[in-house]
Symmetry: C2
Subunit: 387 residues, 2 copies
């Protein structure tokens, strides 16, 4: 890294290029047009020209010394490095990007990084990007499509290697048009749109999609309850039209059908994926006397609310009512009782998004679409149904 013991290195040099701050270098005949720009010594960050002047070599030599891709004599290298150290020179990434190519950053666009699952996706993206020598830009939209538009534009300007949009949304025509527009625009700029945790786009749209198996996970979760003998399972689903919510609902219905249990409309509810919504809907279901013996919550936060409502009503979990969640957030294991839930490989999702975006030669399948599997994590919140 930059030198901590700054001047010590120069002691190994011969007396050529001794590093005092006023020294302009041994060969003083290199003041072509520099003089007029000269102000104070530490006025602006030092450039490669300053280094060259101080070391008494040409800028080309400095560039090559630092790049290490060209033969440079030992003596010259030492002079250059001494100048670099004493001036605290670092390359200007903008200039570098303008001439030799620089690896573009990975842009991560999400609604709000605070959510536990999104934070894990972000960690996965950051990890994989870092491993590949790229930095990650994180931007939040707060759910505003217009801000999303602006961000895509911005990332195009930034020459981002990929723009990763993560988190479920409501899927409609306007959504498809917007995504197609993003994909085109990014493709034209040599970048790539990656959708993460969302269903695939129509064929022909130049985008990569990494999703996880909402439907299968919901199927497993519901099946776990049904296998335990439960017949009336309250479903606390997500917002209508919301991609992942609809998939989870389908999985729930699949399982019911597979077990030959008729769908009961009154047990199938929709709402936000928030604790409050889970609480209210569960309380309402209890009050209405729907006679359920199990709850499948569409997310762990919703399960949290359900647990609170059940506890408040004096209903014991899992003795009287079983509960299953979705997401496997970190605290799921620490609830009372520890929550049986569906694990989503969020970090893997992020890593895969970056990997696929950057390894485009490897055209996996013809449609740019990958689905990661989910997995039921069995803990203590499910018991066989009474009787």
């Amino acid at each position: 890294m930059f030198p901590t013991g700054r001047l010590t290195d120069t002691s190994r040099c011969s007396n050529v290029g001794a590093v005092t701050d006023e020294d302009d270098g041994p060969s003083g005949a290199r003041e072509t047009r520099r003089a007029k720009r000269r102000r104070g010594p530490a006025d602006r960050p030092s450039t490669i020209r300053d280094v060259a002047a101080k070391a008494g070599v040409s800028v080309a030599t400095v560039s090559r010394t630092l790049a290490g891709n060209y033969p440079v004599s030992t003596e010259t290298r030492e002079r250059v490095m001494a100048a670099v150290n004493s001036l605290h020179y670092v390359v200007n990434v903008h200039a570098k990007a303008l001439s030799g190519r620089v690896a573009g950053p990975i842009a991560l666009v999400l609604r709000d990084i605070t959510g536990p699952s999104l934070a894990h996706v972000a960690a996965g993206v950051e990890e994989e990007a870092g491993r590949r020598g790229r930095l990650s830009l994180v931007c939040s939209t707060k759910g505003d499509p217009e801000r999303e538009d602006d961000l895509v534009q911005l990332m195009r300007e930034q020459h981002a290697a990929a723009v990763v949009l993560v988190g479920g949304t409501v899927i409609d025509d306007a959504y498809h048009r917007r995504m197609a527009g993003y994909a085109e625009a990014l493709d034209l700029a040599g970048s790539r749109l990656v959708l993460c945790g969302r269903p695939p786009l129509p064929a022909g749209v130049p985008a990569t999609v990494v999703d996880y198996d909402n439907r299968g996970g919901a199927f497993q979760a519901t099946a776990q309850l049904l296998t335990a003998g439960h017949r009336r399972v309250l479903f606390l689903g997500g917002a209508p039209g919301f991609s992942s919510a609809e998939e989870r609902r389908l999985g729930y219905q699949d399982a019911l059908r597979a077990h030959g249990i008729p769908l009961a409309g009154e047990l199938d509810t929709s709402g936000d994926y928030t604790r409050g919504s889970g609480y209210l809907r569960t309380r309402e279901a209890l009050r209405a006397g729907l006679g359920f013996t199990a709850v499948f919550a569409g997310s762990d936060m919703v399960a949290l609310g359900a647990l609170a409502a059940l506890r408040e009503a004096g209903v014991r979990v899992p003795d009287e009512v079983s509960v299953v969640g979705f997401d496997d957030v970190p605290f799921a294991a620490d609830l009372t009782p520890a929550l049986t839930t569906v694990r989503v490989p969020y970090e893997e999702l992020g890593r895969t998004a970056v990997r696929l975006a950057l390894e485009r030669e490897v055209e996996f399948a013809s449609d740019n679409h990958v689905v990661l599997s989910t997995q039921l994590v069995i803990r203590d919140s499910v018991r066989p149904a009474a009787g």
Copy 2:
């Protein structure tokens, strides 16, 4: 944003500058040295020269039209905008940064974005950065100081406006030396080092520090227990040497002293801020028969472990033992019982870090140091001591 209804706008133009892709613009006498670089039409992202050629104006005019800081005739403006739209032109941020100044990004360096409190700091940083028209770079160190070195170097290259280091660490001489080095190096590059959630550095180091009141919060939390009549309070502290952990320990001791209670070494434990550590230490304390009636956990995660150990031992909370945490993580309110804890203004911390880094003219105080206050949130995990 970039145009969705692309060619429609050009219909308003006169027939000058009609936009077909092969048209090189009405004034064809501007092929000075372009010809040799010409390959396919959509080979590379289009540049301002492409736009100028297509609109039949000079690059200066295009630049000025887009910047909007110079008089341009309506007809010219329309021609330029038509060309911009049809070519999907976006400015190249590297070139822009190289000439006119571009606002540098805010770099956020943390150990792991997955932790709930760090994610909130990140959200605060991102929000404030976005509000000020800057993007945020997020990098994780995984606790490796060498990687931290590299990141500071990298951010210097990127011309980051500020580098925000967030999260507690163990403070020793090596730490001070490293931070002083970072601060100097960044200052030289016109950037700013911001420490977030850490104690101040020695005077004279060009860095900004935003901390929160660990000691005061711990004092309040402990005092709450003591006021409720508890005399033997088990303290589940953090790792020795860790900045915030030590501060919280001091707050705990302050409160004991203020209530005239002698410090009992066997009740003052150290360990990681993890659930597992809290669980083990609490179980051990129960087994050793230390006779405590209250627990002050140094973090909510630790409190989680303590609750689990107590539950396992059949000790009722809060009836037999009261518990207080620290952090107020989102799920604290959803534990059984809802956890009384100390709220830390994590998002505000992030926002403040960015604000102070960018508004350096406003030299708040002589030392660049701000402490945000913490606040006790009273829930259900504390009861008066029996007898």
